[in-house]
Every structure is written in structure tokens, then in C-alpha cells.
């Protein structure tokens, strides 16, 4: 009967049977792999995977399951499974329907190959006790908005808050 190897022995065996980095790199170079960034099928698969990931994150944020989403969309649970298994064919309209059901929007863009779209962390589930970047951004925007009873000092570009409560004037710099 063949003796079972321990994990350590198996790792040693793997190391003994593997190529050096230089040998493996040479082998890969000789294969002349296709450029996947020029492959529409690959591009579509990655986009589909990204959309499914976005849906899963949104479902987690909204705390809903497949049945809930199906009910919101007035579709069957099987349809949601097909979507999440990347077997459904998406149209822009079906994507928009899913986005609306999840209180989200879609941003479909065709961009340069060297460009990246950075999404705000508002799409990520927010940890308990932490603010989303989106909320922090809006708070900052509100902080810098001009209260109605403030005066704007044109020479310095500063807002001087009027003192309703008798405190000293507090200067708010428009931008730090």
C-alpha cells in the first residue's frame, strides 16, 4: 500500500518537481500567449464578472437575498440565479432594471485601454461604526457650503461666520 505523504513532504515534492523562475518564464514566452486585452470575449466575461460582483455587494448592503431581488424585479428566482451565475445575457435595459431594484445606477463607459474607472467606496458594504467615503465627501461639501448669514471677504477669499451666539468670529477657510 502506498504511504500517505504529510503536507510538508508534499510541498517538498512540489518544489523538487517544479521549474526555476527563469525556466518557467522562458516556457511561457515560447508559448506566444494572445493579448487578452484585445479579446472581446475575455473583455465581456470580465465585465460580466464585475457586474455580478457589484450586484452581490449591493445585495449584501441592502441585506436582501435572491428571492427578494426577484420580487423587486418581478422576475423568477431562477432568472436571478442565471444572472449571478453569469449565464444570463445582459442588455443595458436589464442592467438598468437590476440597478434600479438595488437603489443604484449604471455607469457604462467605453474608455482608453490605459485608463481606469475608480468607483467610490459607497458601493462597498460599510463596516459598523464607519462612514462611507461618499458620506464623508458630502459632509465636507456641506461644511464648505456658504451659510446664509455668512459674509464673504473678497480680498482674502475667506468666509467669516456671523456670531449669533456671541462667540468670536470664526474664519472658515474655503479650501485647506
Amino acid at each position: 500500500m502506498e504511504k500517505l505523504l504529510t503536507v510538508e513532504e508534499e510541498v517538498q515534492e512540489m518544489l523538487a518537481n517544479s521549474l526555476t523562475t527563469a525556466e518557467a518564464l522562458k516556457e511561457i514566452k515560447e508559448l506566444n500567449l494572445p493579448n487578452l486585452d484585445n479579446n472581446p470575449e475575455f473583455m465581456a466575461d470580465v465585465a460580466k464578472g464585475q457586474i455580478v460582483e457589484d450586484i452581490l455587494v449591493a445585495m449584501e448592503t441592502e441585506n436582501i437575498n435572491k428571492s427578494d431581488l426577484a420580487a423587486r424585479l418581478d422576475k423568477s428566482r431562477q432568472y436571478i440565479s442565471r444572472v449571478l451565475n453569469e449565464k444570463a445575457n445582459f442588455t443595458i435595459k436589464s442592467l438598468a432594471e437590476i440597478a434600479c431594484a438595488l437603489n443604484l445606477k449604471i455607469e457604462a463607459r467605453i474608455i482608453g485601454k490605459e485608463e481606469h474607472l475608480f468607483l467610490s467606496d459607497a458601493y462597498l458594504p460599510i463596516e459598523k461604526g464607519k462612514k462611507s467615503l461618499n458620506k464623508i465627501f458630502h459632509e465636507k461639501v456641506n461644511h464648505f457650503s456658504i451659510p446664509s448669514d455668512n459674509t464673504y471677504k473678497k480680498s482674502t477669499g475667506e468666509f467669516i461666520e456671523s456670531t449669533k451666539r456671541g462667540k468670536e468670529n470664526e474664519k472658515l477657510k474655503f479650501a485647506s
Binding site: 510541498v11 523538487a16 516556457e27 452581490l56
Partner: protein
């Protein structure tokens, strides 16, 4: 000097040292421009690269499965956190496997085991395997192997900190 790839550089029967390095993936397979939110590196031990050997093997034997695996890699490299889709990424369940992730080829057989660096910025690949059965025994074993390689990396990392 006699070189034993498995245990390190051996001279007169004594293990001198284990060299651990992190290697960039080949540009023709995983381009640098994919590495947006995370970087990807391949673990090299004593000049031997198990992950790269596995990827080279996969590229020569089953390009379709490699594409499926690369798709998941691209998605993970674009994502700030570990991706939620369990069909693509599986996290280790046992206590020694907590740091390990399995990157899956969706509806494919190839798997790539990896772990996150200390600051979670780099995904370090340990090895690949070909999933042959649907039971968890093989997967669990591969997670244990990745955990063993992670420990070797950790020892080296702590020593050179």
C-alpha cells in the same frame, strides 16, 4: 555545491539557508496595468517557482481554463477587497488557512492558491492545482500546502523585517 531544490542549498549534508523571493508575473500573462488595487507576485523558494510552473503548464495544456483563471485574477486585482463571489474566490476555513485564498477558474478546473501580504496590498501566489473531484478533501489538502508555503514566507519575512 550540491543543490537540492526541495530543501535548499546543501553542502556536506547541512542545510545552509532557504531563500524566499517574490517575483513579478510575466507581462504577457498578467500585465502590470491589470494590477490596479492589488499587486500580484509569485512566491519563489530557492530559485524554484511552483506557481509560475503551474501557470506555464496550464498555458501549454489548457489555454481555455487559463483564460477563465486570468479573468478571476483580473477581477480580484481590480477589487479593493476580496471579491464576494464564492464561485470565483474561496477563503480558507481552518485556523491555519485563514490567510489563504483560492482563485478559481469559473466553470473550470484550474485553481490558484495565494495569500495576502502583511498590509493586504500584494497577493502572493503559492501554487496551482487541477481540481479533479467535487469533494472538499483535495481542496483542503491544497489549502494546507499553501498554508505551509505561507509559513515559509512568513519566517523569511520576519527574519528580514
Amino acid at each position: 555545491m550540491k543543490v537540492d531544490k526541495a530543501v535548499g542549498f546543501i553542502e556536506k549534508g547541512a542545510i545552509l539557508k532557504t531563500k524566499v523571493k517574490l517575483i513579478d508575473p510575466p507581462e504577457e500573462m498578467i500585465p502590470l496595468k491589470w494590477q490596479v488595487k492589488h499587486k500580484l507576485k509569485l512566491l519563489e523558494i530557492n530559485g524554484v517557482n511552483i506557481a509560475l510552473t503551474g501557470l506555464a503548464d496550464l498555458a501549454s495544456k489548457d489555454i481555455r481554463d487559463l483564460k477563465k483563471l486570468l479573468k478571476t485574477i483580473k477581477l480580484q486585482l481590480n477589487s479593493k477587497d476580496i471579491i464576494h463571489n464564492s464561485q470565483k474566490i474561496q477563503k480558507g476555513k481552518k485556523s491555519n488557512q485563514k490567510k489563504i485564498i483560492e482563485i478559481k477558474a469559473t466553470r473550470g478546473h484550474s485553481r490558484l492558491l495565494a495569500f495576502f501580504s502583511e498590509k493586504n496590498e500584494i497577493i502572493i501566489c503559492t501554487h496551482t492545482y487541477w481540481k479533479t473531484s467535487s469533494n472538499k478533501k483535495q481542496q483542503n489538502r491544497e489549502f494546507d500546502k499553501a498554508a505551509n508555503l505561507y509559513q515559509q514566507y512568513l519566517k523569511h519575512y520576519k527574519k528580514n523585517k
